[in-house]
């Protein structure tokens, strides 16, 4: 129920110099931390949490929410500039963002990332403010069987990322699936596929895997290019050096608007994924990127275009507000970051629960206002920060490549302070390099690694709940059946699209061959 007095009180709380200052600090630190590989959003919020103890409620919320949103965007800066995602959330941004940088369009990529992030973030916040309770109730309908089918649907949708060589894509997916099973059984808890190594009991970390596959593998490749003084190395160096030169292309308003479909996809998927506990911004980002690539083939996503950056970045940023929905409506922390924001509220003596709207309506309204304001701060501070960080891209490659390698080592260690993660990152760096050399796509590996453990957990829980019966376990609600039907429809549609693509290719090849024959005859 709307409480006008509480709204007035919240305006008094938020629009103070103190709150604005902490909000600005939060965004500033967030973008900076986000751009450092290995320092994830939740790590940044956790590091700042003790500071909130000394602040008032609006200042504390400003600091943590600003940091959260800033870090979500910040991860894309290094993804675009150095192919090193600041956090796993920005891994999908590497595909097109880094290619744009290599084409000398780094500035355009960064601005696309910033504007699409802020747009999707702001709109998802508005959705949260308008229909948070309804969203929370909808999220509760997703039990283990519904989540299982949702994962199947996600995998079906992400088939687009397997590239043109389906067999190679399948091989990468199988490797990702195996790596995802390393660690402990999600139900029985027993160690499995650990090769007798105790330190692998927690599984392979997402951060070292992403940094290894995306950043280290590329740096090994570029390092070899430097040593061989290949033409490509010189070309890229030249283009990175003038990344922010005066003749660098910016982003026009028309170009920004041309990405409305990708931002719409990101907004829808990010908002939906964000409100479901356990999925997170990384899944949203890959899903948004995969869906945009599948349904907007004319945009040629994956070849280094704005649309790819816009889809990935709007997807991850649109999760920011919705992640808080289960926390505010039921006291359920939907993600690690939401749990930390819940911790900040607890430090202020406010227990996140359904009673929050009744007992602390002013705090809930203040949180909503801060969610929106943080986007404005993100736009201003993020713009300046992005250019400052990206200037590092102008550093000559013989200096840049080893610097990024060192950053990758620090980042993989710093994420959880586990020295074994450095070894894991280096292993995946070499592995990723080999994959690139053999033309095996990275995306299916990362996606199955991300989704397969969730799929297994939910599948086994669904069957456990039904007493071991598969049919009632997996087909127990209209929602399950709908999601299953959608997954099947997407698979059939994908197959038909691939088939027609192949037909087109064959026709194209035939036409080329005919043209070649004609020209050969003419020349004779």
């Amino acid at each position: 129920m709307f409480q006008p007095e509480a709204l007035l009180e919240s305006l008094h709380l938020v629009f103070t110099l103190n709150t604005m200052m902490w909000l600005a600090i939060g965004v500033f630190v967030g973008v900076g931390l986000g751009a450092i590989p290995g320092l994830t959003t939740s790590t940044g919020v956790a590091l700042m949490l003790p500071l909130t103890f000394t602040l008032n409620i609006a200042g504390a919320l400003g600091l943590v929410i600003g940091l959260y949103k800033g870090a979500l965007f910040g991860g894309s800066i290094s993804a675009i500039s150095f192919a090193t995602p600041g956090a796993p959330d920005s891994a999908a941004t590497v595909f097109d963002g880094y290619k744009m940088t290599q084409k000398g369009k780094g500035r355009k990529a960064l601005l696309t990332s910033l504007y699409s992030s802020v747009t999707a973030d702001s709109l998802s916040d508005v959705v949260v403010i308008l229909i948070a309770p309804a969203m929370a109730l909808a999220a509760l309908q997703f039990g283990p069987s519904e989540r299982t089918w949702l994962m199947f649907l996600a995998i079906a949708l992400l088939g687009a990322l397997s590239g043109r060589h389906v067999a190679k894509g399948m091989m990468a997916a199988a490797i990702g699936l195996f790596i995802g099973t390393i660690g402990s059984d999600p139900i029985a808890g027993a160690a499995r596929n650990t090769f007798g190594q105790g330190w692998l009991r927690d599984g392979v970390g997402l951060v070292p895997l992403i940094i290894g596959i995306f950043a280290m593998s590329r740096m090994i490749e570029q390092g070899i290019e430097i040593t061989q003084e290949s033409k490509l190395g010189k070309k890229v160096k030249g283009q990175m050096a003038d990344l922010f030169g005066k003749d660098q292309e910016g982003l026009t308003f028309r170009e920004y608007l041309s990405n409305w479909r990708e931002m719409g996809i990101g907004l829808g998927i990010g908002t939906f994924v964000g409100m479901l506990p356990g999925l997170g911004a990384t899944v949203a980002s890959f899903l948004s990127y995969g869906v945009a690539k599948r349904f907007l083939p004319h945009k040629k996503i994956g070849t280094g275009v704005m649309a790819g950056v816009a889809a990935a970045e709007s997807g991850n940023n649109a999760t920011a507000g919705p992640t808080l929905v289960p926390l505010l409506a039921f006291g359920i922390p939907g993600s690690a970051t939401a749990a930390l924001i819940g911790g900040a509220l607890l430090l202020q003596g406010i227990t996140p629960s359904p009673r929050m709207f009744e007992l602390h309506a002013d705090v809930v309204y203040a949180l909503f206002i801060i969610l929106i304001l943080a986007n404005v701060f993100n736009l201003v501070i993020g713009r300046g920060f992005a250019f400052f960080y990206a200037k590092l891209g102008a550093v000559p490659k013989p200096i840049l490549v080893p610097t990024i390698m060192v950053l990758a080592i620090i980042g993989s260690y710093g994420a959880s302070g586990n020295p074994y993660d450095v070894g894991v990152m280096l292993f995946f760096g070499v592995f990723g390099f080999a994959m690139r050399k053999f033309g095996v796509p990275e995306a299916p590996l990362v996606i199955t690694f991300l989704i397969a453990p969730m799929l297994e957990e939910n599948l086994r829980r669904a069957i456990l709940i039904s007493g071991g019966d598969w049919v009632p376990g997996l087909f127990n609600s209209p929602l399950s059946l709908t999601l299953m039907a959608l997954a099947v429809a997407v698979l059939i549609l994908s197959y038909r699209m691939k088939f027609s693509e192949k037909l087109d290719d064959m026709q194209h090849q035939e036409m080329e061959e005919t043209a070649e024959e004609d020209s050969a005859k003419k020349s004779q």
Binding site: L140, R201, G278, S416
Partner: protein
């Protein structure tokens, strides 16, 4: 003159010997009183989880008051990995000199018990004290057929109940269910959020939850039917949860608590462990800032010192082993 010198020398030697003997004899007492030479340098404090979690927050909060009570600092080290047993293994590799301490939780114990070839034996810890403990509360739907303990038992006699929760909390529930003869399907979750969501969505019958999680659910969206631990809820928490929450002991069951133990290498001298325990108690109960900070974080100090905590820990490991068999 020589005789005088000899006599004086003998007296001096005898005096020094007496003093030395007295010092040697009194050294354990002196140590126990806090006047010994331990600690002479900073203490390494091992947190077996990454930065930002509950254990990390506890360690950083109590570590902030360490100098005032120990005279030295605690060097906090996050050593995550292998289900929190990597940090434990590190502790066992260090000398048993009282300068490396490990902050435990139910997670590493469960890991060690569930693994076929664990990195550590779960009994290899000399526990100096419990700094807190959490309870496993059994929460049911408000308008469901199991809204109190009696109806839960009755319902379970017809068909097994389905209960969700993280492994440690399910172990607490399983311990009581076994004593009550209740058949249950235990559905483990890696995160509290997902388990709570599935409970609120009606996908499972019951939820095993901590008091802080239950506060977000009850009384609007659920009813706490039993506190399965052996620790009573604080009065204000009990009231907020709806009041008169029954405890395991009310029905004649042995409840199980899940402590946060702080422990040393098993070969560490008892005097040092006792001294640490004493100083830790004063830090957690007499200090002005640390307990206040923990209270504001929503955490509760439930202290048990040495040797009681060490004896209880051994029993707890055995009971957890038994309850884990039930989960299988």
């Amino acid at each position: 003159m020589q005789a005088v010198i000899n006599t004086a020398g003998k007296s001096l030697r005898a005096g020094l010997l007496t003093v030395a003997c007295a010092l040697l004899a009194a050294s354990p007492l002196a140590l126990a009183d806090g006047h010994g030479d331990w600690p002479e340098r900073d203490i390494d404090f091992i947190i077996p989880f990454g930065a930002g979690g509950g254990s990390d927050a506890w360690a950083r909060t109590i570590g902030s008051g360490a100098r005032d009570h120990f005279g030295v600092n605690w060097n906090l080290q996050n050593r995550p990995g292998a289900g929190a047993t990597l940090g434990w293994e590190y502790l066992l590799d260090q000398p048993a000199d009282g300068y490396t301490v490990y902050l435990g939780s139910p997670t590493p114990v469960l890991t060690a018990l569930m693994d076929d070839d664990p990195l550590v034996d779960p009994n290899e810890l000399k526990v100096a004290g419990y700094i807190s403990a959490f309870r496993s509360l059994i929460v049911a739907q408000n308008d469901g057929p199991m809204s109190d303990w009696e109806s839960l038992v009755e319902h379970a006699s017809e068909s097994p109940v389905i209960i969700a929760g993280t492994s440690a909390l399910l172990v607490g529930a399983a311990n009581v269910f076994e004593q009550a003869g209740i058949e249950a399907i235990y559905v483990p979750y890696s995160s509290t959020g997902e388990a709570t969501s599935d409970f609120l969505g009606g996908h499972v019958d019951l939820l095993a939850a901590t008091a802080s999680t239950a506060l977000g659910i009850a009384p609007e969206n659920g009813t706490v039917v039993l506190n399965s631990s052996d620790i009573a809820l604080a009065d204000d928490v009990d009231e907020q949860l709806g009041g008169n929450i029954p405890e395991a002991a009310d029905y004649g069951f042995d409840g199980m608590r899940f402590p946060r133990p702080i422990g040393f290498h098993p070969d560490t001298p008892d005097e040092i462990v006792a001294e640490f325990s004493e100083r830790l108690e004063s830090l957690l109960t007499e200090d002005e800032s640390v307990p206040a900070m923990l209270n504001r974080m929503g955490e509760e100090v439930i202290f048990m010192g040495y040797p009681e905590a060490n004896e209880d820990f051994a029993l707890l490991v055995d009971r957890m082993r038994g309850a884990l068999d039930l989960l299988d």
